[in-house]
Amino acid sequence: MLTKRIIPCLDVKDGQVVKGKCFMDLQLAGDPVTMATFYENQGADELVLLDITASIEDRHTFLDVVSQVAKHLSIPLTVGGGIRTLSDIRHLLNAGVDKVSLNTAALKTPQLIRQAAENFGSQCIILSMDVKRTELGWEVFSHSGTVSTGKNALEWALIGQQLGAGELLVTSIDRDGSQEGYDLELIQTLASRLSIPIIASGGVGKWEDIKDVFTKGKADAALAASLFHFNGCSVKQVKTLLAQENILVRL
């Protein structure tokens, strides 16, 4: 049987891991290779590296970091942030990355999802979307959650799936950094309507939030950063607790 996945996320800026509260207020957390291998050894099922500056100048620094992490990691590695073209994706795959997550560029050019899936396979294309509750309902925001798009989250997710995305990474902007738990209603709605796996993100503050996002939210995977970086909670502890609740995890 397929297990539920726990995916630590490392936000990388200037070659270092940081974690933002509501995408702001960066706090230094550590060296990417050290943290990546630390999480693999704890039992992380995958790892995500997000390039949170994604400026052209920093691109090379980030590629170096990615390449170093990939050399040391024997679990799947996903990279997101600032990926705009097929050539960006190819560079990352050549650096040893397994999957890429597309966000702002996909909103601007939805056909990028199709082209990427055709060239590299759906299994390595994750559509990432940042979602906020507005008067429009669940609205998708671009540019790291700063620019409203007027797009409805469910509609956009279905389009992304149709275009060939292999997974959907959903981040609740309202919950991100709040430690109040995932937006279960949002995750559950998407999980029940999509046929591709859903990775939930944004708001986890304690292990029970992960339990809830699997049982009530019906997510396939849970992304977390500060829970593991700062809250003294290990991936292994969380998985052991989940297993005691009869949730299937790899231990």
Binding site: L2, T3, S74, P76, V97, G121, I196, D220
Partner: protein, 196 residues
């Protein structure tokens, strides 16, 4: 030298990184001569069955792979396993390598596709495969005609074959290069030659 076949499909660096971690020299190549001279061959693959068959033919590698798969220690990974079979529901009318008899079929409706993540496999090989978790990323799986070549099975809404072996050939549906220490064991036994 261990050769990783490059035909523009998928993440080859990931496989090479894993071999580097084992301290085993390897080369990523699409050159026939290099492949024919290899001690062992790894045939990875991601993407679309039909597109990969086309790419292999365009690169003139179709026959080369048929040859080395039967004469050298050979490891097929993911789509590299599926391509060894005769046909696939993913690309009706296009023939695979046909090194193993059988077809490739899509998972029945009702499951999220692709199957993405860690699944536990069952095998008579209690040393390595049985009970271990491996990382999968696929929507199609192989149905070998010859039951004797089946090495391991997994379950995803239905039972599916996830590893086959025949002579010096080993093929796995999961990604050993991405399956932590259990996956590294598979690669290690292949490169050290303890299974072939």
């Amino acid at each position: 030298m261990i050769v990783i076949i490059d035909y523009g499909a998928g993440n080859l660096q990931s496989v090479k990184n894993a071999l580097d971690r084992l301290g085993v020299p390897s080369v990523i190549t699409d050159e026939r001569e290099v492949i024919l001279k290899a001690d062992k061959v790894i045939f990875p693959g991601q993407g679309h069955f039909g597109a990969c068959v086309t790419a292999l033919k365009e690169k003139g590698l179709f026959e080369v792979i048929r040859e080395v798969a039967c004469t050298k220690p050979f490891l097929g990974i993911c789509l590299g396993m599926q391509l060894l079979f005769e046909t696939s529901e993913e690309a009706v009318g296009i023939s695979g390598l046909g090194i193993l008899k059988g077809e490739v079929k899509k998972f029945s409706p009702g499951q999220k596709l692709p199957q993405m993540g860690w699944n536990r496999v069952q095998s008579n090989d209690t040393e390595r495969l049985d009970g271990a978790f491996y990382y999968f990323a696929h929507s199609y799986f192989c149905i070998p005609e010859d039951e004797e070549c089946i090495l391991a099975r997994g379950f995803y809404g239905e039972s599916f074959v996830c590893a086959v072996a025949k002579g010096q050939l080993l093929a796995v549906q999961f990604h050993p290069e991405k399956s932590g220490s259990e996956g590294m064991k598979i690669l290690e036994s292949f490169v050290r030659g303890t299974t072939c």
